[in-house]
Amino acid sequence: MSKTDAEAEYEPGCVRLKVEGPLAVMSLNSNTLQLLSAYIDGELTAAEREAVERALAEDPRVREIQQSMRGLGSAMRALSEAGVARADFTGLADRVLGQVSRRPAVVDRLREAWRRPWFPVGGLVAVAAAAFFVLRPAAPVPGGEGVVVQSATADAPAQLQPVVLKTDTGDAIIWLVEHPDASGAHRPTTLSPDKPGPQAPIPAQQRPRAGEL
């Protein structure tokens, strides 16, 4: 509801804004105080101003409130003016500019820090550490734990060749085998003359192949 749409009227103890339809009754409450405040500040429409003036003329309570509000406003203005009068702004601009000029620019501060002996060394160490962790080789792939045999050869007769036997715990056994064949049908053996006891055939999934070295 805009104030221009409203038709204000006064009744003792309250200010009513008459609108189309039911009346909007405003008692001596915060709304009335707002109307009084707006009246003091000259912000009311003609109808509202007329209603407030009628209330002021007819109701001493409204007058009393209005006088209090005016007095409070005067006191606030007096305090503000007194404070401003006491403030000394002489040389304020110089003082502000002096503070600004004493704070060097970021580039200047970095340049100054670079001259300190610890900064280049510490900075380089930090950069080097970061570069190392970024550039270092990737971690081993999962499942890459255990021993990996890169190569295995034997300076032995041709029929004796090394084979790699992997255990389920990731260990690797490198053993010399006689006559290994590609089918994996060989059995681990030992160098003569000592041989281990009876050996069970190796399960197919564990049989090493000579070509897997």
């Binding site: 734990e145 021993v147 050869t153 260990d171 030992t190 000592d194 281990p196």
Partner: protein, 136 residues
């Protein structure tokens, strides 16, 4: 500035790559003498048995921890011969160790906690096994 940082980073990487690696080296005699397994060798026995290598006796003849530096060979005394271990240079995530235990020449990549068992030749009534384990 960038060049200096790069040089420093490569220097740090090189220092880390050149860091020594500790490898536990055991010499074990596996034989078919009276059944016996030294403490700590039961896992080895089980692994050998699953691989088809059945011995009844596993005796530890020696045990030492070597600090291997890249490219510097380290010798390990084995009955009747000498094994030579050399940490391979290079920025490897896991140590690569070249082992020469005649007639076997091999290079193994050691994962932490896992062992490489290398046949090292006959000895008395059994076989010598060189056991390499990278320590953490």
């Amino acid at each position: 500035m960038t060049a200096l940082a790069s040089l420093t980073s490569f220097g740090v990487a090189a220092l880390l790559a050149a860091a020594p690696v500790k490898v536990e080296v055991q010499v074990v005699q596996a034989s078919n003498d009276a059944a016996h397994v030294d403490p700590g060798l039961e896992k080895m026995r089980q692994g050998f048995e699953k691989a088809g290598l059945r011995f009844s006796s596993y005796r530890r003849l020696s045990e030492q921890t070597l600090s291997l530096s890249p490219g510097k060979p380290a010798d390990v005394a084995i009955p009747g011969k000498t094994a030579t271990l050399t940490l391979q240079p290079g920025d490897h995530p896991r140590p690569h160790v070249a082992v020469s235990v005649p007639p076997l020449q091999t290079t193994v990549e050691l994962g932490a906690g896992a062992s490489a068992f290398l046949q090292a030749g006959p000895h008395e009534n059994g076989q010598l096994v060189l056991v390499l384990t990278a320590t953490k």
